[in-house]
Amino acid sequence: MTTQQDFPSQEKGSSSISSSYQPNLSGRYKLDKIFAAIALICAWAGLVVLAWLLVDVFTDGVSRLTWTFISEFPSRKPDEAGLLSALVGSIWLIGIVALVAFPVGVGAGIFLEEFIKNSVIGNIIEVNISNLAGVPSIIYGLLGLAAFVRWMEPLTGGRSIIAGGLTLGLLVLPIVIVATRESLRAVPDSTRLAGFAVGATRWQVVRDTVLPPAFPGILTGTILALSRAIGETAPLITIGALTFIAFLPRGPRDSFTALPIQIYNWVSRPQQEFHSLAAGGIIVLLVVLLTMNSIAVILRNKLQKSR
């Protein structure tokens, strides 16, 4: 920019274009630095927000993190209140979501990517899955209420853990499918062709040469999908997860509550003590999330190394 503006005044009467060229190096380096600074700010913005959130939550909630808090049921007395039922409910949910979303999602991903790639049906399914991934979570809650709570009531037992797990499983299914397909797509075609060349069937090729290198990516995608499921509140409230529950579920057909619901309940109470309980609950939820995410990273690194 600067060079062009300077051009007429500085280069009066010059004879050739090549000699009129002013590199203006300092200006370019300045621009370079400005851009780098902006990029740096962008990169830090997320971190700063996270740090702010952590500091805010920790100052409010760290005093609540006692054994009582983990091992006791909710109570009207803030000092005796804990989130055992919510924590156990969340763990149950994650287990069911994993059992539902992993096999179905990976199966669908393999089918779409390896068996009917570039076919009309494949494209139709693909468009629909992309649409599903964009549906707001509360809509899944309504679907879960109609399908799993009301229609399948004899099987699920109504407003039960299994109904909640199935609803969240549907919610994260598109994420698992997309992650599976991305991982499969990253496997070079030459490995598939080599398999076919030695006479392997399609299933043998998928099983022995395509899936193993894609597996770490699939696993990571699944665990990240589970992390999303654990933080969801809206669909659980819609299907009727409870707020006060002072016993542990006896099976998947029992009623339940989950961490985000317990946190929301504490936040909306008038007493300040409950607000700090909510902050404590957020820390527990964050710890569960970070644990799951680090498991994903460790598994990926381990599997990649072993190859």
Binding site: T209, L219, G240, F244, P249, N265, V267, P270
Partner: protein, 353 residues
């Protein structure tokens, strides 16, 4: 070949993991059955009643129900009470579909809701659990207003005020020129229904241009940070935030009265003192746990639990009437038009009995 072995090994460990989870689940359910899950189990005198009680409904009543359930389960370790928060309306839609035993409500059941219940053959006993005083609050820096009349509140909140009443000096001539910031609960809440009915005169009729939130703490925040702020919320939320808010006295025609434990309980804080209810399904009363829990909630001995959560217990003359309704399983509502504004519960109950 090596790769597939890796894959298999991973698959094995994953299967083992899920098996472990499953085993743990089976274990926990086994021990639970041993404890006596059976609904038909006999009531042993020392461990109290057995059975499940499903409660859902109003978020206003939730803290009371939570306290009651906690104490009830301490006395009856084999009973399992669960409480959900779906709002008064959401609670009734589940209750009338036969999904819950008890529905909490911060307003009487509406005629259209009672109709759905009747269609599905759900009969209910209507019982009071506590009283609440809707509190009108302003910013502590507001030094001009101490008391507002119902007419003034109506002028501020009625639908016609939308975009028109925006300054304190429009409310009363002697008020200064200060922008009016309005905060209130969301349209799904029973608090909103009751306030609009008591002040504007029609259920749900309100201006729309105010900051609304289902979370009353947001209303507290809003008014506490807005010098010209005005809002309304449950008395318990005012008590917890006394130092950040200023409480308005309300003139309902008999002079200015501030809400307090006394004025709410004896009904002199009008028209914004309201009863809180719970509705018990008659069919569920055959479940000893549901009956015992319903009795527990209206027992005057447990009134301290209501106080603890910031609400006002039902007056002494009302408790025996409520107990009588429960004993005789008197079904139906005493509020045929769904309005509890300016009524005396004891009179209505006596009339029905």
């Amino acid at each position: 070949m090596l790769l597939s072995q890796r894959l298999l090994r991973t698959a094995y460990s994953l299967t083992a993991l899920s098996l472990l989870i499953g085993l743990a689940a089976c274990n926990s359910s086994d021990t639970a059955t041993e404890d006596g899950d059976d609904m038909a189990a006999v009531d042993s005198p020392d461990s109290g009643v057995t059975g499940d009680v499903l409660v859902d409904g109003s978020s206003t009543v939730f803290p009371i129900s939570e306290a009651m359930a906690e104490e009830f389960m301490a006395e009856n370790p084999d009973a399992r009470v669960t409480v959900g928060v779906s709002g008064s309306g959401g609670g009734f839609s589940k209750f009338c579909a036969g999904e819950t035993d008890i529905s909490n409500a911060s307003r009487p059941i509406k005629p259209e809701e009672a109709e759905i219940c009747a269609e599905n053959g759900i009969e209910f006993v209507e019982l009071p659990i506590a009283f609440d005083g809707l509190s009108v609050i302003t910013n502590p820096e507001n030094d001009w207003a101490e008391c507002l009349t119902v007419d003034e509140l109506k002028m501020i909140w009625e639908p016609d005020a939308q975009g028109a009443i925006t300054n304190w000096n429009q409310v009363r001539d002697e008020f200064p020129d200060a922008p009016l910031g309005l905060y209130g609960p969301g349209t799904d809440s029973g608090t909103f229904d009751y306030f609009t009915e008591a002040i504007v005169g029609e259920d749900g009729a309100s201006r729309g241009d105010f900051t609304s939130s289902e979370d009353d703490n947001v209303i507290v925040q809003g008014v506490a940070n807005d010098q010209g702020g005005l809002g309304y919320l449950g008395y318990a939320y005012y008590i917890e935030n006394e130092d950040r808010l200023k409480l308005m006295a309300i003139d309902g025609g008999n002079g200015c009265i501030q809400p307090s434990q006394e004025t709410i309980a004896d009904g002199t804080y009008q028209p914004l003192s309201r009863p809180e209810f719970f509705y018990v399904k008659v069919d569920s009363l055959s479940n000893p746990a549901v009956r015992a829990f319903a009795e527990f909630q209206i027992d005057p001995d447990n009134a301290n639990l209501v106080n603890e959560t910031g609400y006002v217990p039902i007056p002494a003359d009302l408790a025996p009437l409520a107990q009588e309704r429960l004993d005789n399983e008197i079904a139906g509502t005493v509020f045929p038009d769904g309005s509890a504004v300016g009524v005396k519960l004891a009179d209505l109950f006596e009339a029905q009995q």
